[in-house]
């Protein structure tokens, strides 16, 4: 077999062209995630230099972009984008729950709301890590994914509220006590730091860099995942759909090459920016 033929065979093996793909996220959800992570990266990149304004890199960055008037402007702009994404998501939830009367949004197997099974899954997962039990079988959303979701949900409310309180301090002062104006900066910067550290280390590893998904879980970009991955990662949802005969309804197109490449460029850029910011944050935080 020539080198070229060998390479061609390997490429066919890799492409899984014959494999079925299942929809996991709607285009709307994917766009919302894109708006979420781009504005979050922007907020982190412009917020960190303020949080660690004493460090050399922060001052260098400030000089580079032409002063902090510019950075503050960009921070506020990203904040508005993220606020819009948040409001669209909340509106979407309400429409699905109260207009379309969609079931299972607030409770059940496909809900983001934590339930008793999540507690059991967490304990079971931890036991599996150290070899004390079998690997738990996960539903549509596993407990760490629900945690990610609610951490971001709570984070956006807390960081957003404290941020707007600083932006429009005289207005917020009408109904907040004096010390709250001091507290909002502490809350904003600590919660922001937590979000940055969590997303750029825990979320990146749990969702993208762990061996099952390495180097990146493309599902949030392409919307679909392969049958093998679906079965492996979310066995209960897969079996449930199969039992109900709804599995076929979820079959989607395999992602195109351009879609995969585009997702890779965007995704790896985001991860790279995140990791650089993580290193800068840790270096500044540990020196404080």
């Amino acid at each position: 077999m020539s080198d070229l033929e060998h390479a061609a065979e390997q490429s066919r093996e890799k492409s899984h062209a014959s494999e079925r793909h299942f929809m996991r996220f709607t285009p709307g959800q994917r766009y919302l995630h894109a708006a979420l992570f781009t504005s979050f990266l922007g907020l982190a990149a412009t917020g960190l230099p303020l949080r660690f304004s004493e460090s050399i890199w922060a001052r260098g960055l400030a000089k580079g972009v032409g002063g902090f008037g510019a950075i503050l402007f960009f921070h506020k702009f990203c904040a508005l984008v993220l606020t819009a994404a948040f409001l669209i998501h909340v509106k979407d939830l309400f429409t699905r729950a109260f207009v379309h009367r969609e079931k299972g949004i607030f409770w059940g197997k496909t809900s983001m709301v934590a339930n008793w099974k999540d507690v059991k899954d967490l304990v079971g997962h931890l036991r599996w890590f150290v070899g004390l039990g079998p690997k738990p079988q996960f539903e549509r959303y596993a407990y760490w994914e629900k945690f990610d979701y609610w951490a971001v949900f709570w984070g956006m409310i807390v960081i957003g509220f404290s941020g707007y309180a600083m932006w429009f301090a005289p207005f917020f002062a009408r109904f907040l006590p004096g010390w709250a104006l001091n507290a909002v900066l502490v809350i904003h910067s600590e919660e922001g730091l937590l979000a940055i550290l969590f997303i750029f280390s825990i979320h990146f590893v749990n969702t993208h860099l762990r061996p099952d998904s390495f180097p990146m879980d493309m599902v949030i970009f392409t919307g679909v995942e392969s049958e093998e991955e679906f079965k492996h990662k979310r066995p209960l949802e897969y079996e449930g759909l199969k039992a109900q005969g709804k599995l076929e309804a979820r079959i989607g197109d395999a992602p195109g090459i351009w879609q995969i490449n585009f997702s890779k460029v965007v995704g790896f850029t985001a991860i790279a920016i995140g990791l650089v910011l993580l290193v800068l944050t840790l270096s500044a935080y540990l020196r404080e």
Binding site: A62, P177, W179, L194, F198, P211
Partner: protein, 397 residues
Amino acid sequence: MKTVSSIALAFAALALVFGPGRGMAQANSDCLACHADASMQDGSGHSISVDGHKFGASLHGSLKCVDCHTSIKEYPHPEQITAVKCESCHADQAEGLAGSVHSVKAEHPCTSCHGDAHSIFPKNDPRSAVYALNVPRTCGACHGNDAMAKKHGLPNVYPLYMDSIHGFALGKEGLLVAANCQSCHGSHHILSHKDPQSPTYKANIPKTCGTCHAGISANYMGGVHGKAVARGNLKAPVCTDCHTAHAILQPTEAAFRMQSTPICGSCHKEKLSTYHDTFHSQLGSLGGYVETARCWDCHGAHDVLPASDPRSPIAKANLVTTCGKCHAGANASFVNYQPHANARNRKLNPALYFVRLFMNLLLAGTLTFFVIHTILWLIRSRYDQIKKKAAEGGNHV
């Protein structure tokens, strides 16, 4: 000046009595017969030529050569003549100089500042080396010299001064009232700033600057710093501590706004530390965005007063106005904000202390749990993956 002219008169009288003749030093024209030669040099190669016209037009033009060169009694005069003694006429200045930092005469002859004695002009004449606009250049001949500065352990102040607001006013605008070197240091009786008699001694600085800046000096003397200095507390800042002595900047300049907070903070350490925790500092320390509040934007600059004084800009009744300078819409509730709150101090700021504690515990708790969770997960997944691949033939491990 009176002494000079009476001596000149005496010599003129003598000349009249004895008339011209061999053996007597005579009219300046006699001296110039030889010394007008521009190439004339003494044994060691120094020029000993004199431009008669220039001399005649100078401040000393009415004098005779022998009035100063007193050892010359006859012509031809001896090869070695004694040095001219300026102090024989200028006794007060010589006395001042003798007790000054420039007292070593060999290093600082009168001519080192005043220039050639044959072409000296009054100090209000632009041709004079000590004319106000020429003073910095004259002093800078030595005090702008790195080697000289190093030798005497002094800063090289000339470039600092020339770039300062005083140097700009004097050098670029030609303002005669702008402070030049001698406005602050004096001229003949210059003393070290360590000498309590010196106008540049710390306790005397407010008075020295106040010579011109009378209004600000009065403000300053009414504030806590001025009062402390007047009481003899030399730890309190005087003008130069914030504005520096030579490199004085326009206080609205970005560079000055950037350098000023650490200066206040060098004494008010705890206040600087709590200021660093605030948004004012975070934005401000990054350059570019220099409009954020610095110490004196709230406390006042010269007449700093404690919050208990009703005239202070940080007195409770004045806060809405003070904060309102930047924060349009500031109200009574808004000014309850504490610009120096210390989230690490439970007694002073209990609410803030517990907010910070809660946030820190949340941060540490969440991250600790998930870091352990993720590391264990990584190890277990990788272990399973390797085991699975090994079972499939191990080609990828």
